[in-house]
Point group: C2
């Protein structure tokens, strides 16, 4: 195991599955870690990812990648935003649907920030997907808010898409692809 290999700081198996297929495509390998991602309190996923990447780099002294995703519902003043994970654990998708009962504006978006930190770099990459919140949960794929999110240009929820289709189009993919493109084109030893 080389000390130059990237460490991906997440324990979420669904995320890992999505990300692994992308890294493979770019022929970039990575290790996982037991280190928990530092979570600062902020409404900005970019700041959260940057703080977590700095902390992981300082702790592990290896190149690290950390991502953070927010889910922003327009009619709810962008709730749950960067507290998406906590809200999922408590009131869940059912809570979001209940808060939107009778609401015509169902616009929502996912935003992922991917932060990379090593000895020479601290970079952050964003990926976004706009769409709408469905009337009821549908589909068994994906995780998190996937059963209630219909991406723009689609009539199905993220959870109804096939794994490969979701990975092809998702907010997370967009952010990781931006990172992987950048990583592929920087010199190894700047």
């Amino acid at each position: 195991m080389s000390k130059d290999r990237i460490v991906l700081v997440t324990q979420n198996k669904h995320k890992l599955a999505e990300i692994t297929s992308l890294f493979n495509e770019y022929k970039i390998s990575f290790d996982t870690t037991d280190l928990e991602k530092l979570e600062i309190r902020s409404q900005n996923v970019k700041s959260i990812a940057i703080a977590a990447a700095k902390h992981a780099y300082e702790t592990l002294q290896r190149p690290v990648v950390v991502d953070d995703t927010g889910f922003f519902v327009e009619a709810l003043n962008n709730f749950p935003g960067s507290y998406a994970a906590y809200v999922l654990q408590t009131i869940d998708c059912a809570g979001i649907l209940r808060l939107l009962e009778g609401e015509k504006n169902r616009n929502a978006k996912f935003v992922t920030a991917v932060a990379f930190c090593d000895h020479n770099h601290l970079e952050v990459f964003l990926g976004e997907m706009t769409g709408t919140v469905s009337q009821k949960p549908s589909g068994k794929g994906g995780f998190g808010y996937d059963p209630i999110f219909i991406p723009e240009g689609y009539s199905q929820t993220y959870a109804e898409l096939s794994f490969s289709e979701k990975v092809r189009i998702s907010h997370r993919t967009r952010a990781f692809r931006a990172f992987l493109e950048w990583k592929t084109h920087i010199p190894d030893n700047p």
Copy 2:
């Protein structure tokens, strides 16, 4: 202005009004500050208050008091918990009531942690008030979730009580009183 006077780290005017009357009772004076309270992401108000007090002490180099309050609704898996302020800014009391529509279990509690930090001490004091979430908002007093919280043993919401009655019984008062009792009984120069 003495460097030994306590600095209270809050910009919330409602809180300040409640706390000032308590400090007066104990003949302990304090200064305010523009310093923003550090907010770590945690579901534990005690940890949040301690981290904020340490940070404020390190920044100001004066004795500091910081409080943090969570609002825990039993039927919502303790949502909004320590994210009470963020949830108020987004879905507000109306969101909590909507999430509880048709729900029989309306148990809820407020928990305040007050942390004190100076050169010699790092102490934390807790105050709790159990009660229920009302069917609709009532009353014009107080702030935050006060219009929808009926403290145990009462038939009115916090917001329907007089200012002095709320200050007499509240979760915040219990935590600050614990602190003020302690502060009154420790030697000035240990």
